[in-house]
Amino acid sequence: MHSIVADYNYWIYILLMMIGLYAMLAKNNLIKKVIGMSIFQTAIIIFYVSIGAKEHATIPIIAHGHGAVEAAIDVAHYANPLVHVLMLTAIVVSVGTLGVALAICLAIHRKYNSLEEDEIQEQLQ
């Protein structure tokens, strides 16, 4: 049981990455491709956050202030904050890329009046 749990996060990240890649390659609709790109991004975020997770660790905020006991800080007691920082900014950047991708979709729709890949290619030829 423990080995399944240990690797489950990694299996799921691989599966999500495959779903995202398949959607980006195979889907005919451009918005579906954008959704596939977003799924691909979240798969990478799962991978990073899984690396930073620690067993029996708490959130990376130190208890302090009134009534908190001053104790030596145990590194294994807090989740890895570095991957959280990297992924936090990655999520915010992903909304930027999503905005630009949708804007390009809209611009394509303005010119070709379609979001289907094959119809656009027919008009291009």
Partner: protein, 340 residues
């Protein structure tokens, strides 16, 4: 970490991912994708990444879904009928995806064990951040101190990336001249749309509280999950809520296009300006400890804490303006006349 929750949430995530790819209606796909993001947010919380969860809740489940809606509103809702001759390309895509999966599965054997506190990623750099953040900066939330202080350069250019994305959306979509707009198709009608008193009343009452909460998130990011990115996105979302429940014009009245672009600039400028101020005071770029010379009654440690607050405010202003700007451009197709 509760592995039962982990397993069930991950299974639901995969189901949602399949559903959002397979469903034929783009609006349904957007909604399922929102649910997918929300499950992700549960997963981050469960793994102890509260700041990431907060960002995912505001960005992924909130703004992304609205952006998809806006794009569907301006284009079309239905996915086109399947045509023959696409089977081959689908097979190729499937093979490519399976090959990628195969390579990753082989690599997976060498991955460090999940939830092991002694993996290489957790041994070299991050112990310094965990043990020294309170001593160096007096900020108990390590994510904020790493984001805004130890890796301040990184975050500054990330803010610049957001700003550039906003500029790109304006450059692609915005139509200033009247004659440019003639060829634009009429927006797709999702529903007839009527002024719903209950929704309008609730939205109007909620917006001030949402904005107050956003300011709290920005100001209290040192001690609790949150910070400039999350607070900025929530501020932007409050304006988007106004634009959806009331009228496009109301938001334009408060946050005109000129103000949006100006505030995006100002936000990045605050960030870089604080960096240059440190440079002028004789320290390295973004080394806030020197700010104790100009801030009253602060030692070098508190100055770093206050410097972080300053740049978080800059990030919040920039992100808010850019999120509003992206939404307004996509939902009106760059015409700024009417929205959802």
């Amino acid at each position: 970490m509760i592995w039962q929750l982990d397993l069930s949430v991950l299974t639901l995530i995969v189901i949602c991912a399949f559903a959002t790819i397979m469903v034929k209606d783009l609006l349904s796909a957007a909604i399922i994708f929102g649910a997918y993001s929300f499950l992700m947010c549960l997963l981050w919380t469960e793994m102890g990444a509260v700041d990431v969860a907060f960002t995912e809740a505001s960005v992924g489940a909130g703004v992304s879904t609205v952006l998809f809606f806006a794009a569907v509103y301006q284009t079309s809702r239905k996915v086109g009928a399947r045509k023959s001759g696409r089977l081959l390309s689908k097979a190729f895509a499937l093979i490519a995806a399976l090959l990628t999966g195969l390579v990753l599965v082989i690599a997976e054997a060498d991955f460090p064990g999940f939830a092991n506190p002694f993996t290489p990623a957790s041994l070299h750099l991050s112990p310094y951040y965990i043990t020294q953040t309170l001593h160096d900066t007096n900020v108990p939330n390590m994510v904020t101190s790493v984001l805004a202080d130890y890796r301040g350069f990184d975050t500054m250019f990330e803010t610049a990336v957001i700003f550039t994305a906003g500029l790109a959306v304006i450059a692609i979509l915005r139509r200033f001249k009247k004659e440019d707009r003639h060829d634009l198709p009429e927006p797709y009608v999702i529903s007839e749309g009527y002024p719903d008193t209950i929704i309008r009343f609730v939205a109007r009452q909620l917006v001030p509280f949402i904005q107050l909460f956003a300011l709290y998130v920005v100001a209290h990011g040192h001690h609790s999950p949150g910070g400039g990115f999350q607070g900025g996105v929530i501020l932007g979302a409050s304006f988007i809520l106004l634009a959806i429940s009331f009228d496009f014009k109301i938001v334009l009245g408060i946050m005109s296009e000129r103000w949006n672009v100006l505030l995006g600039n100002i936000g990045v400028l605050i960030y870089a300006g604080i960096g240059f101020l440190c440079l002028l005071l004789g320290a390295n770029f973004l080394d806030y400890s020197m700010l104790s010379k100009v801030l009253p009654a602060t030692d070098k440690i508190m100055a770093r804490s206050h410097g972080m607050l300053g740049i978080e405010i800059g990030v919040a202003i920039a992100v808010m303006a850019i999120v509003i700007s992206i939404y307004l451009n996509i939902v009106s197709h760059g015409k700024y006349d009417k929205g959802l």
